[in-house]
Symmetry: C2
C-alpha cells in the first residue's frame, strides 16, 4: 500500500466533490494499492491541517455549516509550502486573465517537488509550457484531465488509447452553457436573451455570462488541447474567437429544416489554427449532441474520426476526472 | 529497442490492413522503442516465413497479384507452433458458431507462451474465460480492442481511462450495417428490403445479411464487453436478441416526427442482463448517430454517461485498434 499525503487547495463545489469521491472510493483505491490521506484543505478564508489525515466527513459538514473549513489563516500557497505532503489537488477558482491563485499554487508545489492534479484551466491557458517545464525539472507528475470537458476523458483518450495514431485536429463542443442555450432556443422557439434568462435562473449560466457565451471558456480548453496533444505553446490570445450572442432562433430553424444544427465549435488543427465559432453540424453527426453535454471529435490518420461525449461540468463528474488522474499517477503496475 | 517477432494469421482485408499500418508506422514504433518484425504470414492457402523478417510491401503485392502469399502448405496453427516468434496477430475470419480456426490458433499461441492481439470475435464469444485463463497461466498478454467496434476504443477506454468509476451498464450501436439500413430507410422513405438491397450493392451488407440484421454480430460484441468489463462468463447464447427485419419505414417516420429515432441497441447491465433489440433513441442523444458509425455509452457512478463513437469497420480502422494494443503491450514505460 502506497500512502499519498494530499492537500485539497480550494474547497468550493469541485473541492468538496473531490472529498466526497475520496470517501466513496476509499475501498476501491485501497484495492489499487493507494491510500490517499488528505492532510490539509484550504479555502478562501484559510486552512485546516492534520498531518495524521483529516476526517473528510467532518470537513464537509463544517463547510456546509460555517461556509468555511478555516481553522488557521493561511493561503493555499502557504499550505503547499509548509505542510509535509506529496500531492496537491489544485481546485481553486479559474481565472483565465491572470491565472489567479492557482498559478502561484502550482509553481509553489513544483518547486517543492510535489505532484499536481488540477481542474483549474487558468494557469494552463496562460503558462502551459512554463508549468510543464517546472514540473519536469522537479520530477513531478502534472495531470489536468478535469480542465477540459469535466468528465469527458479527452486528454487521456488522446494520449493513451489512441496510441499509434497521428492526430490532424480536435474539434468539439467544450461549453455546456452555450450548448444548452442553442438547444433550448430551437426547442422553445425563443430568442437568445429569453433562453439566457432561463439558463441564469437554472444556475446553468452565470449572472455575467460573458465567459461562456463569448467562447472564452471554450477557447481556454482549446489552448490546453493544443499544448497537450500537439505540443504547441499557445495562450488564450492565440484563439480566433466568436461567441453565440448573435445567433437567432430563425437561423436555428432554417438550419433545422435542412437537417442541420448550429453549435459553438472549438477546433485546434495541427497546422496551428485555433478557433471557437458557431458552425453548422448535420443532425445525426456525433457532434450534434443536445443539452449541456460536451463532445470532442478527434481526426486521426488510422482510426478516422473518434468522438467522445460526456458531462462537461458537475462537481462529482469533475472529481471523477481528478480521481482517474490520481490513480494513473500512483497505481502500481 | 525491443524487437518483437510477429506472425499475421489471416491475410484478408484486416490482415493486409495490419501489414499496411505496420509499414506506415515503422518510424513511430521505433520512436516508442518497438521494432515489429513480421516473420510469418498465413492465409487460407498456406504461409510465407522468413525468420529475418518478411518484406511486407512484397507480401502485399504478391497477395494482390496471386490472391495468396502461400509459399508453403501450412495452417495458421502450424505456423504458430513451428515458427520462433513472440506475438500472434490473429485476424482470421470470425465464426461465432464454432470459433473457427481462430480458437485453435489462440490456444496454440498461449500454450507456446506467445502474446495474442486479435480482431476475431468468434473465439471470444465462445471461450472467453478459458482463453483468458490459458493466457494468464502461460503469462501471455491477450488484447482484443479490435473485436468490439473496430476503431471505437471502448475496451481500453473502459479499462484505462475510466479508472475509479464503477460501471453500471454499457449500451450502444455495435453494428454499422444495421445503423446504415435504419438511417437510409428514413432518409429515402424506403422499406427495409429496398435499403438492404442497396447495402448489399454497396458492400455494406453481406449477400446473406443474417449475421448483421438479426443482431448476432452485435450480440457477440455485447458478450465480449460483459466478460471483459464486468468479469462475467457469458456466451452468445446468453443474449436476448431481436434484429431489425421487422422495422418499417412508417415506424421510423412516426418516431422521427416525435423527435426520436430507432436504433439497434446492444446493452449489458451489471446485473447480468444482455440484450440486443431495436430501441427508441431521442434525436440529439449521443447514441443517435447516423450511417455506418458505431457508438457505445458507458453508465458510470461518478462520471455519469460517457459515450464514444467511431468507425466500426474498415481494414485500416481495425488495424489501428490492433496497433494500439501492440503498443500497449510492448511500449517501455
Amino acid at each position: 500500500m502506497k500512502t499519498v499525503k494530499a492537500s485539497i487547495i480550494g474547497f468550493g463545489s469541485i473541492g468538496q466533490g473531490v472529498a466526497r469521491v475520496l470517501l466513496m472510493k476509499k475501498d476501491y483505491l485501497e484495492k489499487e494499492g493507494i491510500d490517499i490521506k488528505v492532510v490539509a484543505i484550504a479555502d478562501s478564508k484559510g486552512a485546516v491541517i492534520d498531518e495524521n489525515g483529516l476526517d473528510l466527513e467532518k470537513c464537509l459538514d463544517m463547510k456546509a455549516e460555517k461556509g468555511t473549513i478555516a481553522e488557521k489563516k493561511m493561503t493555499g500557497a502557504e499550505v503547499i509550502e509548509q505542510v509535509d505532503h506529496d500531492l496537491v489537488i489544485e481546485v481553486s477558482p479559474t481565472d483565465v486573465i491572470t491565472g489567479g491563485a492557482g498559478l502561484l499554487n502550482m509553481q509553489t508545489a513544483f518547486e517543492k517537488g510535489l505532484d499536481v492534479v488540477t481542474s483549474n484551466k487558468g494557469p494552463l491557458t496562460l503558462k502551459f509550457k512554463e508549468l510543464n517545464e517546472l514540473a519536469d525539472k522537479n520530477v513531478c507528475d502534472f495531470r489536468y484531465e478535469a480542465t477540459v470537458g469535466g468528465a469527458m476523458p479527452i486528454i487521456n483518450l488522446t494520449k493513451e488509447v489512441m496510441a499509434g495514431n497521428e492526430i490532424a485536429s480536435i474539434k468539439g463542443i467544450f461549453n455546456g452553457t452555450c450548448n444548452y442555450i442553442l438547444t433550448r432556443m430551437l426547442e422553445e422557439k425563443s430568442s437568445y436573451s429569453e433562453i439566457l434568462t432561463e439558463a441564469v435562473d437554472l444556475g446553468i449560466a452565470e449572472t455575467d455570462p460573458t465567459y461562456d457565451v463569448e467562447g472564452i471558456d471554450a477557447a481556454g480548453k482549446i489552448v490546453i488541447l493544443a499544448n497537450t496533444v500537439f505540443g504547441m505553446n499557445k495562450t488564450i490570445n492565440d484563439v480566433d474567437r466568436t461567441g453565440i450572442t448573435q445567433i437567432t432562433y430563425e437561423a436555428l430553424e432554417i438550419c433545422s429544416k435542412n437537417g442541420k444544427t448550429i453549435k459553438l465549435i472549438g477546433e485546434v488543427k495541427k497546422n496551428g489554427s485555433l478557433t471557437v465559432s458557431p458552425r453548422l453540424v448535420p443532425i445525426g453527426h456525433p457532434l450534434s449532441v443536445s443539452g449541456t453535454l460536451n463532445v470532442a471529435s478527434i481526426q486521426t490518420d488510422l482510426a478516422g474520426e473518434i468522438t467522445v461525449t460526456g458531462r462537461g461540468a458537475g462537481s462529482i463528474e469533475t472529481a471523477s476526472a481528478i480521481l482517474s488522474d490520481i490513480i494513473s499517477i500512483y497505481k502500481e503496475y
